[in-house]
Amino acid sequence: MLVGVGSALLLVTLVVAVTIGPADLAVGEVVRSVAAHLGLGGGDVPRLHDAIVWDLRLPRVLTAAAVGGGLAIAGAVMQSLTRNPLADPYLLGLSSGASLGAVAVLLLGVGLLLPVAAFAGALLALVATLALARSGGSLAPTRTVLAGLAVSQLAAAATSFVIFWTATGDSYREILSWLMGSLAGATWRSVAIAGLALLLVGGLLAGWAGRLDAFAFGDTAAAALGVDPDRTRWLVMTLVALLTGALVSVSGAIGFVGLLVPHAVARLTGPAHRRLLPVAALAGAVLLVWADTLARTVFDPRELPVGIVTALLGAPLFAVLLRRDRAAAWS
């Protein structure tokens, strides 16, 4: 049910978001342009409008959808594996680590593919955070968040430093787009990278939904159900780092989506991953497409980094959830 509603909402969002921008397009034009490119007939769209749809806005909107969906899945999985409602790729430093990896390739000429370098950065940040957070074999929620904060700040500082040191001209804009996230550079290649990572990792995690649920009663319970807690945690966290690396390599580090969407969606679906993960992915996609549409239109012709919009929307929502759930497991 919710998956159906979410899918319909996402489809409408994608089409409508493509029509919005400095050049006003009609829904019909968007549909005909896409149909023509997919070889389904259509056509008779002015050449300029067709180029705006197919070359500019559609790749950007689809990238936003894939990044939003992926961040939501990454956040949901990290929250259950660490039994920590505050875990997400941004707060635990994975996103900043991925940004640093990406920037190292782009500006220092480290000989790696961009998404691979971002994955390596995310993985290093993950290892650093968990190593700092681990005390006596268990991951205390507060320690984990503090460790994530330290790692995230360090990686962000190093990213800024690298850009500032090497870039010429408008380096502040570039620093901002890696640290706060931006979809301004999205191309069909970004769609492919983020989309493939989302399908691959999301698909694997969907099959593991039951195993992820097993962590709800703690590590011993998971072990008694035949799920090796440490091995599973590392394997799934590595997949999350892979996903985060791919997403950050096309969008920079976007906050709040991974933290908030799983909490909001769990109120509708409950915490079981079989229902939570698909709906969270759809909700994250819809949210980020609209956040990015706002980011590129509100101060037109100037653009905001989309991370500013997600933070502006996310922080108050987060405050509401925090107040409502005061009795629950936030301590």
Binding site: S80, R83, A206, G207, W208, A209, G210, R211, D213, A214, A216, F217, G218, T220, A221, A223, A224, L225, G226, V227, D228, A266, G270, P271, A272, R274, A328, A329
Partner: protein
């Protein structure tokens, strides 16, 4: 399930918490695991469950695949082990509001295919029904009472279709009728069960066999009427007690008269 505990020992922080325990809980019956706090009951259950590897000895289970017919529990692959052994921890709770049906479905995790399908889709419903928890299926875990939670845990364990059921203090925090209901249920299940119990009268009333641990060692083993004597209760539990016979069930009933001063606290 045929189970042999063979000279099993394990250390925690350098101290032998379980030390050279030999026991053979009878197949298809309820065995009580008794002993004061800190005697090593929980650790022994984890060793039997294969979640800890013994530093000495071995927990052996009957196996058709091994030469000699016995396999070490700690050597079984985790999924294969989880299909044969279910463990109910003491005080096992979730902070997220999973539905009861989803909690019970956790027992199917060891049977799932790699894409997450359950080869026996009715197993969860059957487990809910036999634990008498069908009416709770759509409730959130976090809204259940203590007795209901224990019932759901048992349904989850049954969904694992285990040959060996390990229960750590299954009657903790339950009112007396819920305590009797839980123990009646597992006794009549016909599955080999080892339950750590604090209440000696429950153990005497329901268990076919009891193992008494004292400071990690096996102090006594056998039918409750033979094992639970005033002498053993004084030596292991430091209590002064009479053992009577229940006029209706014929099972031992322990009537406590008071505590004796433990050896360690006696003045010189």
């Amino acid at each position: 399930m045929e189970l042999r505990i063979d000279g099993v020992g394990a250390r925690l922080g350098g101290r032998w918490v379980v030390d050279g325990v030999d026991a053979t809980p009878p197949a298809g019956a309820l065995t009580g695991l008794l002993g004061p706090n800190g005697a090593g009951k929980t650790t022994l259950l984890r060793l039997v469950a294969g979640l800890l590897t013994p530093e000495s000895g071995a927990v052996l289970v009957a196996s058709d695949e091994e030469a000699g017919g016995w396999a070490r529990m700690a050597d079984l692959p985790p999924r294969a082990r989880a299909r044969r052994v279910a463990l109910l921890e003491q005080e096992s709770s979730a902070t997220v509001p999973l539905l009861v049906r989803e909690v019970v479905a956790l027992g199917r995790v060891p049977y799932r295919t790699w894409w997450g399908a359950d080869p026996d889709e009715l197993a969860v419903d059957r487990a809910l029904a036999s634990a008498g928890a069908s009416g709770l299926a759509d409730r959130a875990w976090t809204t259940l009472s203590g007795g209901e939670r224990q019932r759901v845990h048992i349904a989850r364990a049954l969904a694992q279709q285990p040959e060996l059921l390990l229960l750590d203090e299954p009657t903790n925090h339950l009112d007396v009728s819920a305590q009797l209901a839980v123990l009646t249920f597992v006794r009549d299940l016909g599955t080999t069960t080892v339950a750590a119990l604090h209440d000696l009268n429950l153990a005497a009333g329901f268990c076919e066999h009891v193992l008494v641990l004292s400071e990690g060692r096996l102090a006594a083993a056998g039918p409750p009427a033979d094992v639970l004597t005033p002498e053993l209760l004084r030596d292991v539990y430091h209590v002064d007690a009479e053992v009577l016979t229940h006029p209706r069930t014929g099972r031992p009933v322990i009537a406590f008269a008071g505590a004796t001063t433990p050896q360690a606290l006696r003045l010189p």
